[in-house]
């Protein structure tokens, strides 16, 4: 099995920390979810740890710490979807990954959608995973899953509580995950993000609304430009199966190669809770598009 290594990529002066492994044509780019300093667990490339070996066994796979997360510094502006999409596209350029399969979790799914609209030639397909961030909300019902966290914010214990609340099956929450989440809370990117969390929450929400609006408009008035798969956990505390179905329906309207894959007994982290089942969906989708078994 291919080794996964962490390296630092220089994107025109901006340093991005990435996990990499595997080799082969049509690489995969994995984009984690979360809003830096706002989402009550420290997200980053490490969330993909249980899936990376599966992906790396069949293709070159790259999972960055997006700006503001882990070892990647956030820069001067608060985190925004469009900025994350630009960085991810710059990473594709720098590492000559394009066109690659983009797999995005929650907010990362919205980044993937934005990338596909901005630069369809760089994106072979997208997979949107457990992404309440990308699904329409309507007049939604408040979700109280994370309403009453224990003290102290971003402590190892508080992050463990968050991750457990987001999961259907919490056994994926191992010491490797908690160690990294706790370590990330001490890194400069996170400290900076927390210091401006209020500003980020506002800017991020506005950018997410704009990204979703652009996406819905393209699907309504034109056609989504690349093959897409929606992967949903059947037991996700943060969203409903119907949200995933609606998201699928929006793209399916005019994109022939659109799939919806529902994984049983998985919550917000199907790539951690049920990594084999997750790979079954995503790997088959990628290979099926190439006409390969």
């Amino acid at each position: 099995m291919s080794a996964i290594t962490r390296t630092t990529i220089d994107l025109g002066g901006r340093r991005l920390s990435v996990l990499r492994g595997g080799q082969g044509a049509e690489p995969a780019l994995l984009l984690h979810g979360g809003v830096p300093g706002v989402t009550p667990y420290c997200s980053g490339a490490h969330v993909w740890a249980r899936y990376l070996p599966f992906a790396a066994a069949e293709r070159h796979v790259v999972a960055p710490d997006l700006p503001g997360f882990g070892d990647s510094e956030g820069g001067d502006e608060p985190c925004r979807i469009d900025a994350l999409a630009r960085v991810a596209l710059a990473l594709i350029e720098a590492l000559k990954l394009g066109p690659c399969h983009v797999v995005g979790h929650d907010q990362g799914g919205l980044v993937a959608l934005s990338m596909a609209l901005a630069a369809p030639a760089s994106v072979r397909s997208i997979s949107i995973v457990a992404s309440p961030a990308a699904a329409p909300t309507g007049d939604s019902v408040e979700n109280v899953t994370l309403a009453n966290p224990p003290p102290a914010p971003w402590s190892r214990g508080a992050q463990a509580w968050t991750l457990e609340r987001l999961s259907h099956d919490p056994t994926h929450i191992d010491s490797a995950l908690l160690d990294r989440c706790a370590a990330c809370a001490e890194l400069p990117a996170h400290r900076q993000a927390v210091a401006r969390a209020g500003e980020t929450a506002k800017a991020f929400a506005a950018s997410a609304a704009k990204a979703k609006g652009d996406f819905y408009t393209v699907c309504r008035d034109g056609a989504f430009p690349v093959p897409a798969q929606i992967v949903w956990g059947a037991d996700d505390p943060m969203t409903t199966v119907e949200h995933g179905r609606v998201l699928f329906g929006i793209i399916a309207e005019r994109q022939r190669a659109t799939h919806f894959h529902l994984i049983n007994r998985a919550g917000s982290f199907p790539f951690r809770e049920t990594p084999a089942a997750f790979h079954l969906a995503v790997g088959a989708f990628h290979r099926g598009l190439a006409g390969a078994l």
Binding site: A223, P227, A234, V241, R245, F248, I251, A252, Q255, R256, A257, T258, H259, F260, H261, L262, I263, N264, R265, A276, A277, H279, L280, A281, G283, A284, F285, R287, G288, L289, G291, A292, L293
Partner: protein, 311 residues
Amino acid sequence: MAAVTTMERTAATGGPPMPERKWVDVGGIRTGYHESGRGEPIVFIYGGNFGTADSASSAFTWNLNMAPLAERFRVIAFDKVGQGHTDNPLNDDYTMQAVVRHAAGFIKALKLPPVHLVGHSRGGFAAARMTLENQHLVRSLTIVNSGTLMPRVGTNEVVLGKPPFAPYTRECARWVYENYSFNRAIVTDAWIDAVMETLDLPKYRESVRKMVDEGFGTTRFAPNLARDKRETLQWLRDGRLQRPTQIVWGFNDRTATVEGGFALFEMLAAHERRTQLHVVNESGHFPFREHPERFNALLADFAAGFAAEGV
């Protein structure tokens, strides 16, 4: 727009031929089947039933899947009792129970190790029921657009009732499959050729006489199936199905709508952790013919994921 793929172009010209037909005796029923490749066995059960004159299913339904999957698996498609080239049921037993018994008998006759069973439409019901009665014969189960198995209202009679063409004609068969499909262009001459081959067999015409003219369809087959379905759904709700199961559904099927796939998923997922649902866009009743490459990749991964050495 996604480019038209190699396989789709192949499909437009008819696709690869089926491997040469072989024969095996299954409890006195001469059974035709096709087999190719090596490895863990995948066994396909197609849909439809005996005694229909508008169209007729046969093992050829799987021709776009047999050859590609044979690169990694031992793939087998057989003709169900009374369908394709297989003999009609003994003692006029035109029932789903006879179909299920014959399917189990076929797997036993070939002395197969536990199989990855794939059932489409009415074949999805037969596959699920056969698995419920013979779990030791099955390693994993894939159900494709099965209106017969889903706990919802099917709309076949609405979409496919009263064809505007005479029975036993190419035009009629084409009309049926075109109405089943999202993209009508997937109904190739080769597919219709295979349907006509079955429709022209004297023994098949005999099954139509029994089912239609003698009324077995309404007096035996339908009530028997209704009883069987009630029991089968109850068994599924009880959690008796204890094999990894993936449900694959063409999103645009007007006869077995996608709600049925979701309802089936909920029934199975409540009891079996290893349950998945996969919905394929721009596909009617036959996702394995409308999008063979992506269907084949999905099936190959599911079978490999639950192979003898797997989880």
